[in-house]
């Protein structure tokens, strides 16, 4: 799959929760878009990822 613009392979059946815990020191202040749709925090554990998914994991940066 593609995570934040880069190709990435994940164990089959991995969920958004798995990806976030892999990717972020803490889930705090994080949001996830899967194929240009927001995945609510509550659905992370129940949302499996497929190889064709395009995922964006975002947080706050100084700006504006």
């Amino acid at each position: 799959m593609v995570v934040n613009g880069a190709p990435r392979t994940l164990a089959p059946g991995a969920t958004v929760s798995d990806l976030v815990s892999l990717w972020c020191p803490s889930p705090d202040g994080i949001a996830v878009a899967r194929n240009r749709e927001v995945v609510p925090r509550s659905e992370w554990p129940s949302t499996p990822l497929s190889p064709r998914d395009v995922v964006e994991i975002v947080t706050a940066a100084a700006g504006g």
């Binding site: 934040n4 613009g5 990717w23 972020c24 020191p25 705090d28 202040g29 994080i30 949001a31 996830v32 878009a33 240009r36 927001v38 609510p40 925090r41 964006e56 994991i57 975002v58 947080t59 706050a60 940066a61 100084a62 700006g63 504006g64």
Partner: protein, 259 residues
């Protein structure tokens, strides 16, 4: 009476300070902390960007530590679609439905795209967001944004980061007079007197990023803006003297000795 100070209220929330802080361009979280203290700001913007596993992050912590509200922006969006999705991500990530809506037309001027901006504002208002749109200094567009349900309007003084000040005071005054939601001047501010002028023109607040974060002494400049915003606001309430073409003596003529 209109000449007494009033609270600065957006969407029912009273803000301690009329100076909204932009965090872009800040050199470190330490400097950010000092800038927040000096500015007295109670609201600061952040951008929504990809998580960098390497990065320390920490900006949210700094804002929370100082009791400063988070105002996510949609900087970098060129279409209503991108902006709306960015706002939704921000709501999910930062647990706030406030958004500083930016939809720009090109990368050279970073000026707002009126049509995409209004479209995005309408969508987000419909979805319950508290929308603060970064707009140009067009009084007609400002009112359409208000009519779309925006909680405030944020007209520019000049293009982002230019420090050119308020290029068209006449338009800013028209917007402040004709909008009933708070008008917060955004973008183009270069120095303290620009912020004072914005308040004198009738703005309810001023947002400053680059002019503080990229100043030679950011914390000192933050303090300067804090005082300038208050000075301009108090001056408007106090009722300035009219402009005259010729002079008016400030010392009495009667009683002048014959020397």
């Amino acid at each position: 009476m209109a000449d007494d100070p009033t609270d600065f209220v957006i969407a029912g929330k009273t803000l301690r300070s009329r100076l909204v802080l932009g965090t872009g361009g800040i050199s470190s979280t330490e400097v950010l902390g000092a800038v927040i203290e000096a500015s007295g700001s109670s609201l600061a913007t952040v951008a929504v960007r990809r998580v960098d596993p390497a990065a320390s992050g920490g900006i949210l912590e700094v804002l929370r530590t100082h009791g400063v509200g988070v105002l996510p922006n949609t900087a970098g969006c060129y279409t209503a679609t991108e902006a709306v999705l960015t706002a939704k991500l921000a709501r999910e990530a930062f647990d706030t439905d406030w958004v500083k809506l930016e939809v720009i037309g090109d990368e050279d001027t970073l000026l707002p795209d009126a049509v995409e901006l209004l479209d995005a504002a309408e969508q987000l208002c419909d979805q319950g967001f508290v929308v603060l749109p970064y707009t140009n200094d067009d009084p007609v567009l400002a009112r359409r944004l208000e009519q779309a349900g925006c909680a405030a309007v944020m007209p520019l003084g000049a293009p982002i980061g230019t420090g050119l000040g308020i290029r068209n005071p006449h338009n800013i005054a028209l917007i402040a007079q004709r909008c009933s939601v708070p008008v917060v001047l955004d973008a183009g501010i270069g120095t303290a007197s620009d912020a004072a002028l914005a308040m004198e023109l009738g703005c309810a607040g001023v947002m400053v990023a680059t002019a503080i974060t990229r100043a030679r002494q950011p914390a000192r400049m933050a303090g300067a803006f804090r005082h300038a915003v208050d000075a301009g606001y108090q001056a408007r309430l106090a009722g300035r003297i009219p402009r005259r073409y010729l002079a008016q003596a400030s010392s009495p003529v009667e009683g002048t000795p014959d020397l």
